[in-house]
């Protein structure tokens, strides 16, 4: 498993936070999600055998016409 810290752009309200949180929670390979609206950040626990950390900024919720973007700050094995 890996712990991934994200910088998240584009969140303006609690709804944004929940939208991102729900999307990530339901994504294969993402085990736990903790999003901070105040700090524009997120902490994920992922199963790296099911999802590559570099895929995360390119998920639909952070791409194309979505209002949100994310960047991986760092990640470590746990």
């Amino acid at each position: 498993m890996e712990k991934v810290r994200l910088k998240i752009y584009g969140m303006t309200c609690e709804d944004c936070k929940l939208k991102i949180q729900n999307y990530l929670k339901n994504h294969e390979g993402i085990i736990n999600v903790n999003i901070s609206l105040d700090e524009n950040s997120g902490e994920l626990i992922i199963d790296e055998s099911k999802i590559n950390v570099n895929i995360i900024p390119n998920l639909d919720i952070f791409s194309g016409k979505s209002r949100y973007r994310a960047r991986v700050i760092d990640h470590e094995k746990i």
Partner: protein, 460 residues
């Protein structure tokens, strides 16, 4: 001290494009610009040069020779022309740049020369830091390695701010700036001589047949072209004199003014080493994602020393912001960037030339069409020039280039054809408006399969 998500060095098209992408998703951005806001395009490039090309075309009588029975006598006041140019620049600079700073509250702007320090950028004696940085400092005229002893030569900025049209001008260089300047000054009445180091104009950009057609047109217009000339000296006597070596012989030519248009170089006097950003004689080193050797620093615009076009600059700005801030790994396909040079007729194209296809060992087939067979060109009696199209082994269109009236307006059709891997048959099957210059794209496509000089209007 306020910490930013992104600091951008340079407030031109690349810098603003990056800033706009960043603030679209709530990032906090600082732009630092040394010169006037807006960069080269609006202040010292596309906008003033295109205005002067149009103004000079209106002022000159050269281009009305095509219609018989019309006699035009023009006169012009260069001071008034320059005043109008200034107000057009000011209007566009305000609408496209200054107003954006008021509208986008997440963009801060500082006027001053920014340089890297160990963990940030110092400007006006203050240090600013950010998570990521984009260098978008543009380019400036590259001068030849000659001792000029205080002799003032023209660069493109001097032409764009000209106060008096010189009786004669020697233009050193055969690129797009040389050509557009030659057109402007020739239209305004200067005797223009283009001095080339190589054999032909636009040597790096175009195939020889298109260069030849352009040279024929320029010479017909009274512009002299000198080839294979090595510049050995420039000095002042009663005029300004260039000393050239051609075929081992020295030749001197005197002009009222001399324009240096031998290229542009990236602006990288930024103390790059302070943040471990590597560079060499060609400029900053970066990868396909526009990332420098410091993973927190990206580049965009002319400073990349790639195709120096505002379209590329803006695209690179967006991509640099996406990659720097938003974890993307986007790249640019430079083959899909059309170029345009706005002499009249225009020069434009996209994709591979024959020269480039050969260099890459790509097997191709090519067709060339003289504009004289186009009904639209005939209705304007502007039948000079040519267009050409390249296809690869799979019959996918891979290149379109030409010298033709208004070609920059319809090169986009070829760009889309190349981008979406269309074949000539796709274009033939598409009804084109008639009579238009853009019909040449359909006729080129048809010419891969039949003799288009033996077709009635619009026939397939």
């Amino acid at each position: 001290m306020k910490k930013y998500d992104l600091i951008i060095l340079g407030g031109g098209s690349a810098g603003f494009s990056a800033a706009l992408r960043a603030v679209e998703f709530g990032a906090k951005v600082l732009i630092i610009e040394e010169n006037v806001i807006g960069g080269t395009c609006v202040n010292r490039g596309c906008i003033p040069s295109k205005y002067l090309l149009y103004a000079s075309e209106m002022a000159g009588t050269n281009n009305m020779k095509n219609i018989k029975g019309i006699e035009v006598k023009t006169s012009f006041n260069i001071k008034k022309i320059m005043q109008q140019k200034k107000s057009i620049i000011e209007k566009l600079r305000k609408e496209k740049y200054e107003n954006l700073l008021e509208f986008y509250k997440n963009i801060d702007y500082i006027s001053g020369k920014g340089k890297f320090v160990e963990h940030g950028i110092k400007v006006n004696d203050k240090v600013y830091t950010a998570d990521k940085y984009i260098i978008a400092t543009g380019s400036s005229t590259s001068l030849p390695d000659l001792k000029l002893k205080g002799l003032k030569l023209f660069d493109v900025d001097d032409v764009l701010n000209i106060k008096k049209i010189p009786e004669s001008i020697g233009i050193i260089g055969g690129g797009y700036i040389a050509l557009e300047t030659a057109e402007i000054l020739s239209n305004f009445g200067s005797k223009v001589t283009i001095i080339l180091r190589g054999e032909r104009i636009l040597r790096k950009l175009l195939d020889p047949d298109i260069s030849q057609a352009i040279e024929d047109y320029l010479q017909n217009k009274g512009i002299k072209i000198i080839r294979n000339a090595k510049l050995s000296n420039i000095y002042k006597n009663n005029k300004k004199t260039v000393e050239l070596i051609r075929n081992n012989e020295t030749q001197t030519l005197s002009f009222d003014e001399i324009l240096i248009a031998t290229g542009r170089k990236p602006n990288i006097d930024l103390d790059l080493e302070k943040m471990s950003i590597d560079f060499n004689e060609n400029g900053i080193i970066f990868d396909d994602n526009l990332r420098t050797t410091n993973p927190d620093v990206y580049v965009a615009g002319d400073v990349t020393n790639k195709k120096m076009l505002v379209t590329v600059a803006a695209k690179q700005g967006t991509i640099a912001a996406d990659n720097a801030l938003f974890g993307k790994n986007t790249t640019i396909n430079y083959d899909l960037v059309p170029y345009a040079i706005y002499i009249n007729p225009q020069i434009s194209g996209v994709g591979l030339t024959e020269n480039e296809a050969k260099k890459r060992n790509i097997k191709y087939d090519v067709r060339t069409l003289n504009n004289s067979i186009l009904p639209k060109a005939n209705t304007m009696n502007m039948t000079y020039g040519l267009v050409k199209m390249l296809i690869d082994e799979n019959e996918n269109i891979i290149g379109f280039h030409g010298f033709a009236p208004y070609i920059a307006e319809y090169v986009t059709e070829a760009t889309i054809a190349i981008k979406f891997r269309l074949k000539p048959s796709d274009l033939i099957d598409t009804v084109h408006p008639y009579p238009t210059m853009s019909e040449s794209i359909k006729l080129l496509a048809q010419s891969f399969y039949k003799d288009v000089t033996k077709l009635s209007c619009c026939a397939e």
